[in-house]
């Protein structure tokens, strides 16, 4: 599994767009990029995943450059409730018979201030 590197923490203010970049220099051809969010005292929650270019859903956008050695999670107009830890994961494709054993790194602790 490719190792990922993210900033340990970030601060932002309500209403701003937040971009969290993840480096994964050793990403393999078949690897997908996945982002999870974890609020205090809760389990992680899937946000978005992608393979290349741009993916957007109702929560976030994921930008992946052509070389795929990094990716950026973009959160539009954050609110206080977006304060959480955000994890970038890189995984194999296709999953093995007994599912995907996700490897979480340290994550990025996002603090949204009023």
């Amino acid at each position: 599994l490719a190792k990922t590197t993210q900033p340990i923490s970030m601060d932002s203010y309500e209403g701003q767009e937040v971009n969290i970049t993840c480096s994964h220099n050793n990403i393999a051809t078949n690897d997908y990029i996945t982002w999870y969010q974890q609020f205090p005292s809760q389990g992680p929650r899937f946000i978005i995943q992608g393979y290349k270019t741009k993916v957007t859903n109702e929560v976030a956008s994921l930008f992946i450059p052509a070389d795929r050695k990094s990716s950026t999670l973009s959160l539009p107009r954050v609110s206080l409730s977006d304060t959480a830890v955000y994890y970038c994961l890189v995984g194999d494709n296709p999953p093995r018979g007994a599912g995907n054993m996700l490897t979480f790194g340290g994550g990025t602790r996002l603090m949204v201030k009023p």
Partner: protein, 114 residues
């Protein structure tokens, strides 16, 4: 409706005891997992299981064992508890599909060993 539930939410016990944590998912998923999140907040996969295969993370002591009475349940049994077992344990489930890394996590069980 709770998708992935765990009981108990808190578990305090003494060294040397044997304890179990229950997990149930009502999503109809075919694969379930156990993760451990230590005091430094690192989240590590312990087991991945479906009716075809059990995959054990090689770092997990054999005092830990998953038991699945049926497709919707994966319980975690821990024998001879040690101080270092204190952590938050998360159960998760997913439907194994090509290109999908979305897992649904339970609320966690905080285990404290004294």
């Amino acid at each position: 409706d709770t998708a992935v539930s765990q009981t108990p939410k808190y578990l305090v016990t003494q060294m040397g005891n044997d304890k179990s944590i229950k997990c149930e998912q009502n999503l109809g998923h075919d694969t379930m997992y156990w993760y451990k999140q230590d005091s430094k907040k690192f989240l590590k996969i312990m087991f991945s299981y479906n009716n075809k295969e059990l995959i054990i993370n090689e770092t997990v002591p054999n005092r830990f064992s998953p038991k699945s009475p049926d497709k919707a349940h994966l319980n975690l049994h821990i024998n001879s508890l040690e101080l270092g077992d204190s952590a938050v344990y998360f159960c998760a489930s997913s439907q194994v599909r090509t290109n999908s890394y979305e897992q649904y996590f339970g609320p966690g069980t905080r285990l404290t060993v004294t």
